[in-house]
Structure formats: C-alpha cells, structure tokens
Amino acid sequence: MKSPPKVTGLSPKEGIPGCKVTIRGENLGTSEKDLEGLTICGANCLLLAQWISPSKIVCQTTNCKGDGEVIVTTKSGGRGTCTVRFRGLQILPNAVKECAIWMDESSLFGHRLNNRTGPSSPMASQREDALGLKVETAVPLSDAELKALFPDGSSNLALRNFDAGRYLVESHSSTSFSDLKKGLKNLRQQSSSIKTEGPQTFIKANLSTFMNCQDILASIHKGLEVHENIVHKDEGVEGSTSKGVDSLNPFSEDMLEEGENAEEDQEDDGQEKIPTLQKLENLLIESNENAKTIFETVLHRKDRADSTRNALNVLNRFKFLFHLPITMERNIKKGDYEVVINDYERARQLFSSSQVPAFIKVYQDVEERVVKFRNQLKKKLMQLPSSLDDQKRLIRYLIELNAEGDPAWDCIVNQQQWLVNLLNTYKDEHITLDKGNVEQEHLKIKGHHRRQYSGSGIQIKVSATDASEARFNPPQNVLFLEELVQLLDLSFPDLWRLGQSYFKASIVSEAGGKEMKIDRTKEKGFKTMVTNTIEHFANLVRAAFLPDTLVGLEPSERAKLGFWKETNQEGSGAWLPQCVRSVRGILGSLMILEVPANCLDVLHSLLADLRIHCMHTLFQEATEDIQNLHTRETWVLQMDEHGGISALPALFESLVIDTLQHLKEVVSRVKQGELNIFADYDIQRMTVELASEMIKAFAVCLEQLAFRGQAEADYQKQRLSEAQMCIPVSLFQSEDSLPSNEQCLVIVLSNNSHVSQYVIPNLMEEFRKHGYPNVQEIENVALEAYVELDEKIFEAYCEQKTEPLVCALEPGMNMGHFEWHNCSIPSGVRPYVKTALMSAVAIHAEINAIAPAFMLRVMTKVLESIAEEISRLTSCAMEGYSQAGALQARLDLAALEEALSPYRNAGTSASFQEALSAVPKLMRKEDRELLEKLLAKFREECGFLLQCFTSDPSSV
C-alpha cells in the first residue's frame, strides 16, 4: 500500500459554500477512480471533486462551516491527513443574495418571526447595518478567532457588552475607510433622530408588547367589572385588585423605566381607594386615544397603502379585462379575430354580470368596441365579392360575438341582391355597348374595351366595335351571356353552399363554435331567392336571345330585363351553339350543387328554348345561305359516272352538313335531366318544316339558276369575269365563256337529279344520325320539290330544244315548193330529215357532254316531238300523195324512225304509225325496191352520223 494522501495546500484556504478549491498535496490518488473520499470541514465534497493529478484535486465546496481539515481518502493510500485548514465562510443571506447551498433560514430569520415574544431594543434589528452600510456577507474570522480577539465583547448591538471593534471586524472588515466614514455619519444622524423621535420609535418597534399590555389591561378591566358587581355587595377585595393594575400605565409610551415608576405610583393610588375600575377605564380610553393620535397618520397611510395595494392587486388580477379594450383594438387591427372573440367571450362570462363599477365601466367599453367590431365585420361580410370561406368565417365570428339578428341570413340575402344587381349591371352595360356598336359601326373606331371584375375573378376582354372586325367578334348579347354565365358560375355556388351550410348549421359547428339557431322558416325564403336569381338570369338571357318568349310578362317586369335590338340577330347563329354550351355548363354545375329541381326547371326550359332558337336560327341561316348559293355558281362541270355536275351540290351538301354539325351538340346530345326538344309535337313539326325548307331552298336556288333572266345572266357574267380578273387565271377554269341557257338548263337538271339522287339520301342519313325526327317526312317533302323542279326544268329544256327542231321540220319539208302530190321520184332522203337529225345529234352531243344520264329521257322526248310533228305534217298533206311523194314520205319516215330507233317509245311508234297510215302504201315492187335502195343509201351516207344514236348512251 502506498503512503496515505496528504493535503498540504489549499487555494483558496477559505470560501463560501460553492466556491472552487484547488487541493494540493501528496499521494492524492493514482487516478480518478482511486479517489474514494473527500471531506472539507467534515462535509463530503467527493461528488464535486475533480481529480487532476496525484498532487492536485479541484473541488467545489458544499456546506462547509467553520474551520476544518481537508481529508482525502484513496483506495491506494487510505484515509489521508492534512496540514492545512480550510475555513468555510458563512454567507449571511438576504432575500436577493444568491446562494449555492440550501440554507437553514430559521436561525437567520427566527428572531423576526418571534418578534412578539419579548421587548426588543430600539437597535434590535440585526440584519440592518448599524452604520447604514452594505452588510458584508463573508465573515473573515472564525468565531474562535473572534472570541480570542474580543474575549468579552459582542457584536450584538442590543447587548450590554457590545464591542464596537468586534462589530466592525465582523461586519465591516473589508469596508473601505471612506465607507466607514460615511457609516459614522449615518450613525450620528441616526442617534440624533433617535433622540428626537425616541419614544415613538420605541413604541413602533415594540408595538406588539404594547398591544399585549393593552389586551391584558382590557381583560383585567373586564374581570374587574364582573368583580365590581360582586364587590358592591362585598367591598373587601379592592386592595387585591389594585395589584392587577400594576402594569397599567397610561404613559407607558415614554419609557419602561418610567412605567415602573408609575406602577409604584399607582400602587399608592390604589391605597388611596380611588375607584380603581373607573380609573382603569379612563386610562384605557385615554391610551386608546393616545394610540389613535400617534398612529392615526400611520394607520391612515396604511389604509391608503392597503387600498392602493388592493387597487394594484385588482388591476393585476384583472389586467386581462383592463387591457382588453386595447388588446382587442390591436388584435382587430392585426386581424386576429379569433383571439378577439375568445377574449370577448371570456370577458363576457367573467364580467358581464359584475356589479363592480370599475368592471362595469371597462366592460362597457369592451362592449362598445365589440359593437364596433361587429359592425366592421358586418360591413366586411357585406362586401362582395368575397370567398365562401371568408364569408363563413366572418359569419362564425359574428355569431360568436352574439351579433343581433341573423348575420348568415343577412349575408345570404345580401349576396343574392348583389348577384342580381350584378346581373342587371351587366345587362345595362351590354345593352349600351350594343347600342354603341351600331352607332360606331360606320365610324370605324377601333377601341378595346376592357372590363375587370377583379373581385369575382371575371375578366372578360371585349374588343369589338370595329366594323370590319365585327363579324369575327361575337355579338354583344353573346358576350353578355358569357359574362352572365361566368358570374353565375362563380358566384352562385358560393351563395348556394352558404345557404346549405346555413341550414345545416355547419357554418359555426364546422369550427367547433357554439350552436347557431336556425330559422327553418327561412329555408323556403332561401329557395325562393335562389329560384328568383336563376329565373332572373334566365329572363335576362331570354331578353337577349328570345325576347319573344317574354311577351307574357308584365310590361314593367319586361322593361327591367332590357331590350335588345333585333338587328343583331343576323349572323349570330354561329355563336348560338356556344351560348347553348354555356347555359348547359351552368346548368350542369348547378345540378352538381343539387339545387332544387324547380330552380333548375327554369334553366331547363331556358336551355330547351335556346336550343330550339339556335336550331331555328341556324336552319334559317342555312336556308338563306343555300338560297344565295346561286350567286356562287361558276358553271364549272365536274364529270363523274353519273354525268356532269357543278360545284353547287357539293356546296349545298357541305352547308347542310356544317349546319348539322353545328347543331349536333345543341340538338342531339341530351344530357341527363335535359328536355328532349323533339319530344314536343310542335317542335317536331317545326323541325321538319325547317329542315325541309332548308333542303328545298336548294331547289329554289337551282330554279333561280335555271330560269334566271337575261339581266341576271349578264350580271353573273360580269361577276364571273370580274372574278376572273381578280383571281389568277390558273385558279379559274379556262372556259372563258359561260354556257348557253340550254346548257345551263342541262347543268341545273343534272345538278338537280344529282341532289335528289345522292345528296338528299346522304343528308337524310345525317339527319337520322343526329337524331332528328321524321326524317322520312323531310325527305319526302324535299324530294317532292326536286321532282317538281326536275319536271319543270326538263320541260323547259325540252321545249327549248325541240321547238326549233320541230319548227324547222315543216319549212324544211316544204322547202323548194315541194309537194307530196307532185314530186319527182325521190333520189334520197330529203334534207329536212337530215337537218332534223343533225339537230338531234346536236342535242345528243350537248346532253352527252353534260349529263349522259338524261340522254334517253331527252332524246325520247325529242323523238316524240319529232314523231308527233311528222305525223301531223304527213296527215296535213292536203293534196294527197303522189306515187313518188308517197315513196319519198315513207323514205323520210323510215329514215327518221330508223335513225332515232333507240329512243323510240310507244308514243313515238304510234305517231309514226299514224304518219305512215296517212301516206298511201307503195303498190309497186320497184318502188319498194327503190325505197330499200334509197334507205340503204341513207344508211351509208349518214351511218357515221347516226352511230351516236345507236351506241349505248351511257357508254360515251
């Protein structure tokens, strides 16, 4: 075992508890673990020890008191020794002094707490320094040392053996000289003041003792009184009672010693048999009065201090309330409404029924502010547009603030009003804009009118009013509708949801607020409001688009909806589907909101009307367009297997199909809950009428083309040539001349048949596909028209074509004074037949060029006419036929019949038969032979010419 530890040095050697001490010595342990124990002045400090080296330990002292050794114990060396001593200084704590250890305060403050037990000297307050200086906390010398220095002195000022030196050493050993001088001055002042105020100070210092005295005296007095009653009967006890008055001394305020004297005096008095009780009573009263005079000011001050303290207390305790007005204002400014509401709620619960005037006053202030706040919130709530969440929050605040009335309902009503007003504003704006547009149309003012409804987020850019742009810009009423729909789409859901949550009472309960009373009766009102709003919207739209449907309204009501000028209707067709889409959109979004059906009915019917209107307008526009198609005829033929047609049928077809496409979603797509517009019989009829009208329009157009007057034709010619000038030649068909009237007729005829054969069935298919009713009817009506037209044109054409041919027959027949009864033996077919045939060939060629499909029909007709004429002519031969004439006639007839045989029909044959019957029969054989011969010659001569008839008409 190593040698025991030995402490030989301490730095510092004394210190207050908690100070750091460096312990030096020998064998202070080989390692930190080796260190087993460390006591300083007997107090264990191992916990706070820090082993540095075998010769050094750093440690913090604990509650080390007095003079003592520092003992280090190690495992290796055991308990050690110490050559130096540590002195634990005591700190004399006061209330504000920090202290590292737990002090036993009873010894320090005990004398104060037990103040009442005995009289204390005027200088008794130990803790207060006699010199009026700061008390030192550390006592530099140990008690033993002090005792050695001052064997019979004491530092207690109250003791007889008080030693000033010891007191100073103990309390002011480290005070500087100048401070001490100051202390002396203090002391002098104090002593002089003690002299002047001595007695009073004394009383004040020993008040409890005096009180005790007084109490005792009072009880004695009481006892005496009881006793007196007895004494009245037996007066012998008086002497003994006087003893009890011993300590009774009215002037005891002066000095105890004096009191002692007085005691003696009184004893004498008692012997003088003055009625003791009376005296005692007087004395007590007197002392009370004295006490009062002495302490009046003090007590008064105390009272005031108490009341001040009370007030402060109250202020402090209820500072929440007193600060509330300012806090509220601040929070309102900051926007911390929740906090304000919570505060107010708390204040209301705590103070609303308070009787304390101060509270009432402040609370009133609070109430006033709350009212202001409420109004502010209300104003804010009424400010639109605002988001639903904001509104809900504001409503919740208002309800939590116990706002009178029904803020949510007010908000709903307000919002509805706002919405309606906004709708009206839009209407007015658009109507004025609309009117403005007309005026500005010629001024060509190009302006961009930009409106911004920032709040509701509606931002529509309206750039219009340039006449040249006008047709690319939507008409004003369409813009109007768009805006209305947008507004409704944005704002109505909020209104509806607000209403819903109002009736579900979820505005407040969502946030865990208190119950909100709901007026169920208002539900109906809300529904009416919603319906009214939607109805208003519908009516506004109607006013813009379907003014006719509003005729039933009262004039005043009607006037509110505004009047749109009718002129704008043209060209709006293209925009109408868009409108329908918008309305449909709003309807859809309202349906999602589960708005009651009766509200939606209004919209449904509006939508249906709009759709019908749209269809109507579009069909009408298409009809007009189709009717105007004839201006676009270029007479450029396109050949296909059915013959030639111009561009018109295709244009017509595409127009119709475009229209149908446009109408497609309007008419056919019936969404859930939408009315089927074709369900109504009237609508069906109207549709059929419109559709057939549209289809028929082309017939009209064709007819116009076919039978246009010369002037028109000239105009067209001019237009086309103009177009030719404008459009590069390469783009225009090279045919520089317009076809002749006849050719036009054929073209129209061909177009007509093409339309009725191919286009109309196609279109009908389209109609069917889009769900139009009674397509067959439309087709029938339309085809009727075409057939009629076909007849008409055909007649006209044939007439035009055959007439010259037929008319030429008679003169040709009689040419050269030819007479059937007087003619030479024919040498061949007569020229008139050939001329007729040539004409027929010309017709054939024309037809073949334009519409081979009509060949048979036309040629048959031509042949029929020829045959008829021939038969008429032959039967009209007045003078009869000579032999040669008969031969000639038969030859001619045979040639004609043969040449045109492919186009023969019953009528033709009959005519020829009739004609032949009028001609005398050929009796002679040589005549018959000659006929055959001549016929063969004719075949030979004209075979090539006639080939066109014999060949298949459609094979060309």
Partner: protein, 202 residues
C-alpha cells in the same frame, strides 16, 4: 483547536505579500511542489504547509499566499496579524509593483504595531529575475530600499527556481531567530504582557 502532534515541531508562518501578478503564488507553488504555473489566476488566499528541514531541524512552514489585488486590501489586516514573517514580493519587470512594496511594508508595520520594525522578519524579493530583458527595477535600486528598511533583498525566478528555496529558508531562519529572542525575553520576563485591545479604526 486541533490537537495534533504538529505542535511538537515549530511552525513558521510565512505570508506572501506584494501586488497582483508579481508571482507570489508561482513562488509558493515552486517552493512547495516544484511546479511552475504558466497561467495566471488571481489568488484570494491560499494556505500551504509542509515539513522542511531547516538547518538540520525539522520544521513546518505554513505559507499564506495572499491576494495582491487591491480588492482584497481590506481583509489583509487579518492575515497580516497572524503572520510571523513576510516575503514582500515585487516584479523586477514592473516598477509599480516595486513602488507598492512600501505600502505593504507600512501596512504590515501598522498591523504589527506591537512590534518594532526589526522584530518583524521581512524579506524583499524581486521576482521574475529570468526576464532580464524586461527589467525595470535595478538591483541597486532594490538593494538600496532593502538597506533603508533594514531587511535583506533577494532576486528570484519562480520559473527557473533560482533563489526560491533561499528566499523561503532565509525568511524561516529569521523567524526562527526572532522566535528564539522572543522566547528568551519571555523567559526573562515571565509575566506575559497581555496587550490591550484597541480600536484600530480611526
């Protein structure tokens, strides 16, 4: 009071005085534990005691290392009172510390007013002798003062341990001699003169 056997050996109570930072603690620690502390930490009041052999006789040296700072000036009186010998240290690199030695001397004499000047073992020590480059107080100057006071002067270096032992041992010898003369006096005049307490204030 402690009743240890240390009573048998003589205890010489040495007090280190001098202004702050001159090396009192360094000298003490060098003497006590042969270590030199580089970092400076103001002392309050440290106590060291160990056995040494003085001229073949085992004695204990009790060193009270006091605070040089002016803050603690007021409590010095108490310490001085208990001291038997004084090492008045200054730094040869600091003129001011040399000047302050006068004040310390005066304070000691005041506290030990019951003794005459020559009865108080006192040694003037010029420390930091290794820092010759920074010397401000000349040897002559110091010796002159020592002579004036009737004490001896020694220059030490706590860092190099130059003259450290010498300073302490010289002082201890003086204490021992002083004690011997006092004992002789006491033996001569057996009556113990109890000094009257007097208020030292004012």
């Amino acid at each position: 009071m402690s009743k240890t056997k240390q009573q048998q050996t003589d205890i010489h109570k040495v007090i280190m005085v001098g202004s702050g930072g001159v090396g009192k603690s360094a000298l003490t620690l060098q003497f006590m534990y042969d270590e030199f502390i580089e970092d400076y930490e103001p002392t309050k009041a440290d106590s060291y005691r160990k056995k040494v052999t003085l001229d073949g006789e085992e004695v204990q040296i009790d060193i009270l290392d006091t605070a040089g700072q002016e803050d603690y000036a007021a409590i010095r009186d108490n310490y001085f009172r208990s001291g038997e010998g004084f090492l008045c240290v200054f730094s040869i690199t600091e003129q001011e510390s040399f000047a302050t030695t006068t004040e310390f001397r005066e304070q000691i004499l005041r506290v030990k007013h019951n003794k005459s000047e020559d009865q108080i073992p006192f040694l003037l020590v010029g420390n930091k002798a290794d820092l010759t480059d920074a010397r401000q107080v000349s040897l002559a100057e110091a010796q002159e003062r020592a002579t004036a006071w009737g004490v001896s002067y020694v220059e030490t270096s706590a860092k190099t341990r130059d003259n450290v032992d010498k300073a302490f041992f010289d002082l201890m010898r003086k204490i021992r001699d002083q004690k011997l003369t006092e004992n002789q006096k006491q033996n001569g005049k057996p009556e113990k003169v109890k000094k009257k307490r007097k208020c030292i204030i004012l």
